[in-house]
């Protein structure tokens, strides 16, 4: 969090994208978040109608489950959820090197606790930094793209881009909803 109350970009997301480029070539268009998860990190991504959560990471198995219904409804939300789980994998699991972390299920009580809340915010900020790289977003804004146009360019939901514009101090308008 910077002195103005905005979330700064997570450098680990940029590092991950650099690693991806090094191994699989230049990224053109929206960040290929599925390929980052599957091809670079060795995560197995599945969609399921049987889960009642948006997304789920099982570190020991390197499995990511995404809510199939939500995925059908919004590609932007699906991409953000997958990037969020990648955030858990990178930030809290150290890509599998951290051993077996303590169980964390993000129910209401977990979200209310300081630890659970901090981990979720960290994963959210990582996801935003991964899908909406700061340099690219600033360039889009400098080119005059509004939130909706920038969201389309980066393959995210409008609300995700609203938060990114706010956190990068491109706009002062604080979004009122969750991503």
């Amino acid at each position: 969090m910077n002195p103005h109350g905005r979330r700064e970009s997570d450098p680990r997301a940029q590092h991950l994208l650099a690693r991806f480029t090094l191994r699989f070539g230049k990224i053109t268009g929206p960040v290929p978040v599925d390929a980052v998860a599957r091809d670079l990190l060795g995560l197995f991504v599945m969609e399921s109608d049987d889960i009642q959560v948006s997304g789920l990471l099982v570190p020991d198995r390197r499995y990511v489950y995404l809510n199939a219904r939500e995925a059908r409804e919004s590609e932007g939300r699906r991409r953000f959820t997958l990037a969020h789980e990648i955030g858990h994998w990178v930030c809290q699991c150290d890509e599998g090197r951290a051993g077996s972390p303590e169980p964390i299920l993000c129910r209401e009580s977990d979200m209310a606790s300081r630890t659970g809340g901090a981990l979720e915010r960290e994963a959210n900020n990582f996801a935003a930094s991964l899908l909406m790289p700061e340099q690219g977003v600033r360039q889009a804004a400098a080119d005059g793209l509004d939130v909706e146009a920038a969201a389309e360019l980066f393959g995210v939901s409008d609300i995700a881009m609203e938060w990114r514009y706010f956190n990068l101090e491109i706009t002062d308008a604080r979004p009122g909803r969750e991503r």
Binding site: G25, R38, Q52, L56, H88, S100, P101, C106
Partner: protein
């Protein structure tokens, strides 16, 4: 009568080329009463020849293991190969049907990330993985489960609405019925 000196020379050349030839496999190629003689020549090769430099891909995989990362994942990404590409090539190399691809993908994921017990994997699979990766079988470094293997997941991270539950058991099942693919990846050596 086998040509024992020729076999010993073949072993020496393979060893010098860093291919880590399997001495037992060479001994198995000659009648029992000639194995002592071939074994003596092979021991002489091992004693005389300087140890070969490891293949670059082996070094890469050793370094990954030292960092606590799965060696096969490191090898694949270093070669810029996508997992779908590897799974598709592996399925073909093993002579399996396109319908088997999803099952192969699950097993390959477990193999790549060190979750699959190596003792259960057929030799054909190791050969096929080496071929797909473009390395010698002897250069391939694989890792099985550490610390007791895959048991119940120790942790999950869920992006959830408040009050929701997660039933991991319902998600864990492989698609379809067990068959040839399962035998290849869990049926044991041979």
């Amino acid at each position: 009568m086998s040509d024992i000196p020729a076999l010993a020379e073949e072993f020496r050349q393979a060893y010098a080329a860093g291919e880590h030839p399997d001495a037992a496999a060479f001994l198995a190629r000659v009648p029992e009463d000639q194995r002592d003689e071939l074994g003596r020549l092979i021991r002489a090769v091992l004693a005389d020849e300087p140890p070969p430099d490891p293949a670059p891909e082996t070094l890469l995989m050793v370094q990954a293991m030292r960092r606590g990362e799965p060696p096969l994942l490191e090898l694949r990404t270093a070669r810029g190969m996508t997992r779908d590409q590897v799974v598709s090539d592996l399925r073909e190399e093993l002579g399996l049907e396109p319908a088997d691809e999803q099952r192969v993908a699950v097993y390959y994921h477990e193999l790549e990330t060190g979750q699959l017990p190596l003792a259960g994997i057929r030799d054909r699979v190791f050969e096929a993985v080496a071929t797909v990766m473009g390395v010698a079988r002897s250069s391939l470094l694989l890792q099985g489960p550490q610390g007791g293997g895959a048991g119940a997941p120790q942790a999950v991270y869920a992006r959830a609405e408040p009050g929701t539950e997660v039933n991991l058991d319902a998600l864990a099942a492989l698609p379809g019925e067990p068959g040839a693919v399962d035998d290849l990846f869990t049926g044991g050596p041979g």
